[in-house]
């Protein structure tokens, strides 16, 4: 087990709306196994992104706990520096949008987190180039600035950046939403080939083919609650 999520609740108090409260997650419990690929599915607004952001602590949890076993801490209550340390060394997160850095080439965008965690620049760039070519990014774009890229090209850079450090726990929020079917297949092949059993993934996907190709188990959310948790083989036919 890598994570034990226990009755996780996230409420947003919106002062601008006279203190109206929005419920993002409502008492979600789930165990995440070491090395598994857990897909999170559910309709829009069902709490998928909120769950990932609570795990990454971009959202502060309202109640409940998130036991992260490798470091033996509750992510929901540990201090900011512990979170910073874990983010720097073993917990990765990526949304569907690339965080632009002005005038930094695609290869360097992908290599940067590796360099920042101490890898020599040339090895980091080599790994970056490998990942980008596996994702079918055209060679001439490697040294260009992603600001000028199409949505799908940018998302390939984003996904490569997320995969590059091979974190122990990887949180992916719709990392392939802008890819065409063929590139999605490349992404599936790459994720399967590149991430070994040392990496556990919790990933939000809208596309059921992606879920079936990648997931071991599927967490189904609805209205901020856990609706189901099932092995991927039983998932076919479930309408999210």
């Amino acid at each position: 087990m890598i994570l034990t999520v226990d009755t996780l609740t996230k409420r947003f108090e919106m002062h601008v709306l006279d203190g109206a409260t929005v419920v993002g997650l409502d008492g979600v419990s789930v165990n995440v196994r070491d090395g598994e690929f857990l897909a999170v599915v559910g309709p829009s607004g069902s709490g998928k992104s909120s769950l990932l952001k609570c795990l990454y602590q971009t959202y502060e949890v309202s109640s409940g706990s998130i036991r992260y076993h490798p470091a033996d801490v509750d992510l929901a209550t540990c201090d900011d520096r512990t979170i910073m340390r874990l983010r720097g060394s073993e917990i990765g997160y990526t949304s569907q949008f690339l965080d632009e850095i002005p005038r930094v080439s695609a290869v360097d965008v992908v290599a940067r987190p590796l360099v920042e965690s101490g890898m020599p620049a040339e090895s980091a760039r080599e790994r970056a180039r490998d990942l980008l070519s596996e994702l079918g990014l055209p060679g001439p774009l490697f040294e260009a600035y992603p600001a000028t890229f199409s949505g799908g090209e940018r998302q390939r850079v984003n996904l490569a950046q997320a995969l590059a450090p091979r974190p122990r726990l990887l949180l992916l929020d719709e990392p392939t939403s802008a890819l065409d079917p063929e590139t999605r297949r490349l992404a599936v092949d790459l994720i399967r080939a590149d991430l070994g059993p040392e990496t556990t993934v919790v990933g939000v996907f809208h596309n059921h083919e992606m879920v079936e190709a990648l997931a071991d188990r599927v967490l189904v959310l609805g209205d901020g609650r856990r609706r189901d948790l099932l092995p991927v083989a039983e998932f076919e036919g479930v309408v999210a």
Partner: protein, 275 residues
């Protein structure tokens, strides 16, 4: 390991009546004492910074950010200051330290980058001279060694080295800002305090200067306090952020948490108004 910490940092401008702090702040909705007119620029702010960490301070104009930055950088400024500042390797409360200790700290270990370029640079001097002046004043003897250090900092910060001997007034705003950063970094301080690092820069230049700073900050492992009214600046640079209003810290946390899940009414308003 904590390198810089502040406890109960307070700065008042005026002739305080004794009730100034209880009559001002976030709940009172003002920073000017209604009884005596004293401005409570910042009150009871505590924070600590570890080696290599970047702390952001955001808030609207007049919320007390610069007063806090000055206290942390041990700038006397005007007004009544209270509280304590501690720095790794130095004894006691540095707000009460003698002139020599303060000078030593500010030459070797702690640098303030002023909001206005003209407060930080002598524009009629060469860019290189502005930077070299600091280690030379701190007692460095070898002019060649200093020049070499300036040259390599210019390279790191992407200031054209062949312009090193030109007067700083002939540089673009972005270059002047980079020279200011070089001047702050040249003595290898453990902490730099940046007050509004994008002031006076075109939007197109801002992101580039900030990104350069971020890279150099990480490469050198220098800690920083970055004060800005601009959430974008803090988003790019800071690991953790304090939100100030009416001289008080109203919210603090991981920067992405502050931006995506703001709790305090004021922070929510600040973020909504920039979207």
């Amino acid at each position: 390991m904590t390198v810089l910490s502040g406890t109960g940092l307070t700065r008042l401008y005026g002739d305080p009546c004794g009730d100034c702090e209880s009559l001002t702040g976030d709940d009172a909705g003002r920073n000017r004492c209604p009884a005596c007119g004293t401005i409570v620029a910042c009150a009871d702010v505590s924070l600590d910074i570890e080696r290599g960490e970047v702390l952001g301070v955001v808030g609207e104009s007049g919320s007390g950010k610069s007063s806090l930055a000055e206290l942390l950088a041990l700038e006397r400024g005007e007004g009544h200051s209270r509280g304590s500042v501690r720095f790794d390797g130095y004894e006691g409360n540095l707000l009460e330290s003698d002139y020599d200790t303060r000078t030593r700290l500010r030459n070797d270990d702690l640098a303030l980058v002023h909001q206005h370029i003209r407060d930080g640079l002598t524009l009629s001097f060469s860019g290189g001279g502005n930077v070299a002046e600091k280690p030379l004043a701190a007692g460095e003897r070898s002019f060649e060694a200093v020049r070499e250090r300036v040259r390599s900092l210019f390279e790191q910060l992407e200031v054209p080295v062949d312009r090193m001997d030109d007067p700083a007034e002939t540089y673009s705003g972005g270059m002047q800002r980079r020279v200011q950063l070089a001047r702050a970094l040249v003595t290898d301080p453990a902490v730099v305090v940046l007050d509004e690092p994008t002031t006076g820069l075109d939007v197109s230049v801002q992101a580039r200067v900030l990104d350069t700073f971020r890279r150099v900050q990480r490469e050198r492992g220098v800690a920083a306090v970055v004060v800005s009214h601009d959430l974008g600046v803090v988003r790019l640079l800071a690991d953790r952020t304090l939100v100030m209003r009416h001289g008080r810290v109203v919210e603090r946390g991981l920067t992405d948490r502050i931006l995506e899940d703001p709790h305090h009414a004021y922070t929510q308003q600040l973020i909504n108004s920039t979207l």
